[in-house]
C-alpha cells in the first residue's frame, strides 16, 4: 500500500452530506454501544438511518478506510506486557522487500517504512513484536532475523517501559459529535 492521500470523506460514502459523515465517524470512534441493535443507536446519534450507517460502514470497509471491525483489546491487561518496537536501518534499495517479508511473520503486528532524520535518526523500517515476556520477544526476533537473513542490518529493540496512553485514533475534530 502506498502512502495514500487521504480520500475526501464524500468520496467514500454514498451520503453527500459531509457533516453526517463526520458525525458518524465521531460516534464510531467511541465504539458500538453494547446493545442488541448497536447500529441503530449509532444512527440515532449521527442523525442517520440504521441502513445508511451500515451501508456507510460497509463502504468504508471495502475502501480500506476501516481496516478491521471488532474487539479492540488492551493487550497489556491480558498480560501481554512486552511490547518491542524494532527499528532497522535498511539500505533504500532493499527496504520494501525486507518490509514485506517482515510483515508476513506471524509475530510481527505492524511494519512501516518511515523517513530517516539524519544525523539524529538513521532507522527507516519499524516493526512491532508483542509477547508475554521480553525473553520471548527477543527469541522471536532472533528467529526472524535468522530466517530472513537480517543479521547484518543495524537495528535496535525498544521495549516499552510504561504506557502513558493507549487508545484508538481520534481523527475527527473535537466538538462535531
Amino acid at each position: 500500500m502506498s502512502a495514500a492521500t487521504p480520500l475526501p470523506l464524500d468520496a467514500v460514502c454514498s451520503l453527500d452530506e459531509p457533516a453526517a459523515h463526520r458525525r458518524l465517524r465521531a460516534v464510531l470512534e467511541q465504539g458500538l454501544p453494547l446493545t442488541p441493535r448497536p447500529w441503530k443507536s449509532l444512527a440515532e446519534q449521527a442523525g442517520m438511518a440504521e441502513e445508511e450507517v451500515m451501508a456507510c460502514v460497509r463502504r468504508w470497509q471495502a475502501d480500506g478506510m476501516i481496516k478491521r471491525l471488532g474487539l479492540v483489546v488492551r493487550h497489556r491487561r491480558l498480560g501481554i506486557e512486552a511490547n518491542a518496537m524494532v527499528v532497522w536501518d535498511v539500505p533504500d534499495d532493499r527496504v520494501n522487500e525486507v518490509g514485506r517479508r517482515l510483515a508476513q511473520e506471524a509475530a510481527v503486528t505492524l511494519c512501516y517504512r518511515r523517513p530517516r532524520r539524519l544525523p539524529d535518526w538513521p532507522y527507516n523500517l519499524f516493526c512491532m513484536i508483542h509477547g508475554a515476556r521480553r525473553e520471548r520477544v527477543l527469541a522471536e526476533l532472533a528467529a526472524i532475523a535468522e530466517r530472513l537473513a537480517l543479521g547484518e542490518l543495524e537495528h535496535r529493540v525498544l521495549f516499552s517501559t510504561h504506557a502513558y496512553r493507549q487508545c484508538g485514533g481520534r481523527y475527527v475534530q473535537e466538538g462535531v459529535a
Binding site: M1, A3, A4, L28, E29, Q30, G31, L32, L34, P36, P38, K40, E50, Q61, G64, M65, I66, K67, R68, L69, G70, L71, V72, V73, R74, H75, R77, L78, G79, I80, E81, N83, M85, N96, G99, R100, V108, L110, C111, R113, R114, P115, W121, H130, G131, A132, R133, R156, V157, L158, T161, H162, Y164, R165, Q166, C167, G168, G169, R170, V172
Partner: protein
C-alpha cells in the same frame, strides 16, 4: 497489574480470538456472534460488558486506517528520565495524542525515550499541533510519518498458554 488468563473462560477467549476482526455488519451483530459461538445474544453482550469493565476491552468498533482516515504520525522526544512523567503528562494533554509510551533501548546519543502518535483531521492541523506541542515542551520533536505500510493490523492471536505460565 493485569488480569489472569483464568479469569477468561472459553467463551471469553472465543470472543477475543475470533472477533478482533470480522464483526458482522448486520442489524443484530451480537446475535450473529452468539449463534457462531453457541450462546445467546444476551450472554455475548454481558461478556463484552464484563471485558469492558475489566478494561481488557477498549471498545467494540472499527479501526480506521491512519493514512486514510486523517493525518497522523509517530513522534518522539528525548527527555531526562527524572522528568519523563511530567513531559508525558504535557504530551497527553495535547489534542490528538492517542498513544504515548516510554521506551528504552536506544544508544545514549539518540536518547528518544517518549514515543507517541499524534493525530489530526488533516496535515496542516497535524503540523500545527506538533509545532504548538514542540514550543510547549521546549525540546525538538522527531517526526516520523508513515511512508509505506506493509502490515497495518493490530489484531493478533493471544498466546493463552504462554500467559497461563506467567
Amino acid at each position: 497489574m493485569h488480569c489472569h488468563p483464568r479469569d477468561f473462560d472459553s467463551l471469553d477467549r472465543g470472543l477475543i480470538d475470533i472477533y478482533q476482526r470480522g464483526l458482522p455488519v448486520c442489524t443484530r451483530p451480537f446475535l450473529s456472534v452468539a449463534e457462531r459461538l453457541g450462546t445467546s445474544e444476551t450472554e455475548v453482550i454481558a461478556r463484552l460488558e464484563r471485558l469492558h469493565s475489566l478494561d481488557v476491552l477498549s471498545r467494540v468498533g472499527p479501526v480506521f486506517d491512519h493514512a486514510r482516515a486523517g493525518a497522523s504520525l509517530l513522534a518522539a522526544v528525548a527527555v531526562p528520565e527524572e522528568t519523563r512523567d511530567a513531559f508525558a503528562a504535557l504530551i497527553n494533554a495535547a489534542p490528538g495524542v492517542n498513544h504515548n509510551y516510554a521506551r528504552e533501548g536506544l544508544a545514549r546519543e539518540q536518547g528518544y525515550n517518549l514515543w507517541f502518535v499524534m493525530t489530526a483531521p488533516d496535515e496542516p492541523e497535524l503540523e500545527a499541533r506538533l509545532d504548538a506541542l514542540e514550543a510547549h515542551l521546549g525540546v525538538p520533536i522527531l517526526r516520523l510519518p508513515m511512508l509505506e505500510g506493509y502490515h497495518i493490523d493490530l489484531s493478533f492471536p493471544i498466546p493463552w498458554a504462554e500467559l497461563e505460565c506467567t
